[in-house]
C-alpha cells in the first residue's frame, strides 16, 4: 500500500486520512530517520491503527518507530472509552516491558578497574536467558498477590525500600488487576520467572553519567557527571506473553465470528470494545502482568544491589543506590487529556513508547512535580542512553508520550549476517564496554549497528518538545539474556 506523507515541520509528518482511516496518522521524526521508516511496513501499520473504532486525534508514531506486528513498535493510539476498543496487540506480548534507572554514589573511576568482575558477578546473580528461572519461586497464592500488589509485594518481601514505589510509574501497581481472569497456563508460566531478566533485548547495564544537559533537572534527579548508574530493561516474562496470547486468540475468534461490528485490516489488530466483557477482562489481566513486571524489575534491582555491596565490600550507605524512576514501554491505560477543549478519559495504548508527563502533572510524585517525569531512553549497548524530562507539548501532541529507545534498523537475520566473522564482544571491549550474554546469537542480533542512532531519536523528541534532554549515560558493562 502506497502511503502518502506530508511534512508539517522539521519533526512532524502527517499521513492524511484516506480510505477506511478514521483519523490521520502523525509521525515524529526527522528527514534522515524517515528514510529508513519508509523502507519497511511501519507506515502502513500507522494507517491500519487509524482505522480502529473510536480512535481519537491521530494514530501516532514516535521517532523510534519500526515494523512490528499489528501496531508498529513506537506506536501510540488513544481510544474513546464508549466508542473505542482495547487491543492486546496494541500493547504487545511483553506487557509492561520497561526500564528502571538506578543512581549510586559511586564514581566511574572507582569501579573501572573492577568492571569485568562486576559484569561477571551481575551475570551470575541475575538469572537470564530464554525461559530463565530461579529468581523467586511463587506459590499460586503468592503469585496472585504479585499480580495485584506489583512492586509493593517485592518491597514487602525485602526486595528494596518503600521509597522505590513513588519513583515507579503508577507506584508500581496498576489498579483493576484481577487474577481470577487468568488462564492456568499464564499462572503456570509466571510461577518461576520472577526476578529473571529473560533474553533478546533485555539487559542490565552499568553506566557512567557522561554529559549533563540541564543542570537543574539533573540535580532534581540526583544525577552528576562521572556517576555510576544502572539501567534494567525487562518485562513480565512468560506470564505476560501468555496473557497477550490468550486474549488475542479469544478476540480474534470473536472478530471472525462477527461478534463486533468492525472489519480489521490485520488479524493481529484483534480487539474488543473497551466497555465489553472481553475488553474489561483483558484490562484486568493486563494489569496483573504490568504488576508482575514491576515486581520483576524491583527484584532484579535488589539482586543488583546485593551484588554491588558484596563485590565492593561497601555499606548500603556508601553505595547510595536509589531508584531514579521506572517506566513502562508496553501498556494501555485510562488517562485524562484535553480534546477539543474538553477533559476526557481515554484508553491510551503505548507499544514501544514511554509516558512523558510535564511539570505540575497531578500523577507525578511530589519529588518530580516541579521538573517533570523522568523519561528513560536506552540506546543500543555500544552507544548512549538518555534521561529526559516530560514536557508540556507531550500533553498536546502525543497523549503524554515519548519514544522508548533507539528502535531497530536491521532485522535479526540482517544483523547476524553483518556480524558474521566478527567478535562483537571484542569490538565493544575496545570501546571500554564489557558484555556477557547467555544466548550465542544475542550479541550479533543486538549489535549496535542493528539499531538506529539513539541520539537522533532523542533529538527529535527534544526538538518536538515532547521531552527535554537532561543527561546522557555511557555504557561500561552489560549483561544480556
Amino acid at each position: 500500500m502506497e502511503i502518502k506523507l506530508e511534512k508539517i515541520d522539521e519533526y512532524q509528518w502527517l499521513i492524511p486520512k484516506t480510505g477506511p482511516m478514521r483519523v490521520p496518522g502523525l509521525i515524529f521524526s526527522n528527514s534522515s530517520l524517515m528514510k529508513a521508516v519508509q523502507e519497511d511496513q511501519s507506515l502502513t501499520q500507522v494507517a491500519n491503527v487509524a482505522t480502529l473504532p473510536g480512535i481519537v486525534g491521530h494514530s501516532l508514531a514516535m521517532p523510534d518507530i519500526h515494523w512490528g506486528y499489528g501496531f508498529p513498535i513506537g506506536g501510540v493510539a488513544a481510544f474513546d472509552l464508549d466508542e473505542g476498543i482495547v487491543s492486546p496487540g496494541g500493547v504487545g506480548y511483553d506487557i509492561n516491558c520497561g526500564c528502571r534507572l538506578i543512581t549510586t554514589l559511586l564514581h566511574a573511576h572507582e569501579i573501572r578497574p573492577q568492571i569485568k568482575g562486576l559484569v561477571s558477578a551481575l551475570f551470575k546473580n541475575i538469572p537470564s536467558g530464554v525461559g530463565s528461572t530461579g529468581g523467586v519461586r511463587l506459590t499460586k497464592r503468592e503469585e496472585a498477590k504479585v499480580a495485584v500488589e506489583g512492586a509493593a509485594w517485592a518491597v514487602k518481601k525485602g526486595f528494596g525500600s518503600a521509597q522505590d514505589l513513588e519513583r515507579t510509574e503508577d507506584n508500581g501497581a496498576m489498579e483493576g488487576a484481577d487474577p481470577s481472569v487468568l488462564s492456568e497456563r499464564a499462572i503456570k508460566r509466571g510461577r518461576d520467572q520472577l526476578g529473571t531478566l529473560g533474553s533478546g533485548n533485555h539487559f542490565v547495564e552499568v553506566q557512567v553519567v557522561d554529559q549533563i544537559y540541564d543542570p537543574d533537572k539533573a540535580r532534581a534527579y540526583d544525577l552528576f557527571e562521572g556517576q555510576v548508574t544502572l539501567l534494567i530493561h525487562s518485562g513480565s516474562r512468560g506470564f505476560g506473553h501468555q496473557i497477550c496470547d490468550d486474549f488475542l486468540k479469544e478476540m480474534s475468534r470473536s472478530t471472525q465470528e462477527g461478534k463486533y461490528p468492525f472489519d480489521l485490516p490485520d488479524r493481529q489488530l484483534a480487539c474488543a470494545p473497551v466497555k465489553s466483557d472481553q475488553g474489561r477482562r483483558y484490562f484486568a489481566a493486563m494489569a496483573c502482568a504490568a504488576n508482575y513486571a514491576w515486581a520483576n524489575r524491583q527484584v532484579i534491582m535488589h539482586l543488583a544491589h546485593e551484588t554491588l555491596i558484596s563485590l565492593f565490600s561497601i555499606s548500603p550507605r556508601e553505595l547510595g543506590m536509589k531508584l531514579l524512576y521506572d517506566v513502562c514501554h508496553n501498556i494501555t491505560k485510562k488517562e485524562q487529556y484535553t480534546v477539543e477543549g474538553n477533559q476526557v478519559m481515554l484508553c491510551v495504548h503505548r507499544k514501544g513508547a514511554t509516558r512523558a508527563l510535564p511539570p505540575g502533572h497531578p500523577l507525578l510524585p511530589e519529588i518530580y512535580r516541579g521538573v517533570g517525569q523522568p523519561v528513560l531512553i536506552p540506546g543500543d549497548m555500544g552507544t548512549y542512553s538518555y534521561v529526559l524530562a516530560g514536557a508540556e507539548k507531550a500533553m498536546v501532541l502525543s497523549f503524554g508520550s515519548s519514544c522508548h529507545g533507539a528502535g531497530r534498523l536491521l532485522s535479526r537475520t540482517q544483523a547476524t549476517k553483518k556480524a558474521k566473522g566478527r567478535a562483537i564482544h571484542r569490538e565493544l571491549e575496545d570501546k571500554g564496554i564489557y558484555v556477557q550474554s547467555r544466548g550465542k546469537r544475542t550479541l550479533k542480533e543486538e549489535m549496535p549497528e542493528a539499531y538506529k542512532d539513539v541520539s537522533q531519536v532523542v533529538e527529535v523528541v527534544h526538538g518536538a518538545g515532547l521531552a527535554l534532554k537532561v543527561a546522557r549515560l555511557r555504557p561500561m558493562g552489560v549483561i544480556k539474556g
Binding site: 506486528y69 506480548y93 503456570k188 506473553h241 496470547d245 488475542l248 475468534r253 471472525q256
Partner: protein, 142 residues
C-alpha cells in the same frame, strides 16, 4: 534435530522473525512448520528415547489453525520445558488437526537454545495453495 528436513525460508522483519514454509499437502505443510520453528529455536543431539504426546487443535480457519498449532508447540517448550523433536499429523481439516508429538524434557546440557520466540502472531498470517504446493507465511514475536 528432526528426522525430516522441512522446506522453509526465513523472512526479514525488522523487529521479529518470519518464515515461509512449503509442503506438498496440508499435513506436510503443518508438520514442516512445526519442525522449522523448532529448528530455529533449539539445537541438540538426537535423543535416545522420547515420549509421545497426543495433541488436538481447533481453529477458525487454516490461518488460525496454524497459529494455534505452533502456539501449542511453543507453549510446551516455554511453559512445560518440553522440546518437541518430531511431529506426526494423523488427520487434518480446515479447522482441526490431530497429531502425535515426540517430546523430550529440556536439558540445558543437551539442548542449545538458538533464539527465543515469544509468540506466534496473526500478523500477515497466510496459509494458501500456490500452484501445486501449499505455502504458509508466519511471523513470530521475538
Amino acid at each position: 534435530m528432526q528426522s525430516h528436513k522441512p522446506d522453509f525460508t526465513l523472512l526479514d522483519h525488522t523487529a521479529d522473525l518470519g518464515m515461509t514454509v512449503r509442503g506438498a499437502d496440508l499435513k506436510d505443510l503443518f508438520e514442516g512448520a512445526a519442525r522449522s520453528m523448532m529448528q530455529v529455536m533449539v539445537r541438540g543431539k538426537p535423543p535416545e528415547s522420547t515420549r509421545t504426546k497426543r495433541l488436538s487443535v481447533r481453529g477458525e480457519d487454516l490461518a488460525d489453525l496454524m497459529v494455534r498449532w505452533l502456539g501449542e508447540i511453543l507453549y510446551l517448550f516455554d511453559g512445560e520445558k518440553e522440546v518437541v523433536v518430531d511431529v506426526q499429523i494423523n488427520s487434518i481439516s480446515k479447522s482441526r488437526l490431530d497429531a502425535d508429538l515426540r517430546v523430550v524434557s529440556f536439558d540445558p546440557h543437551l539442548h542449545e537454545i538458538l533464539c527465543e520466540i515469544k509468540a506466534v502472531t496473526y500478523h500477515q498470517i497466510e496459509v494458501a495453495k500456490k500452484a501445486h504446493r501449499w505455502e504458509a507465511t508466519i511471523i513470530f514475536d521475538m
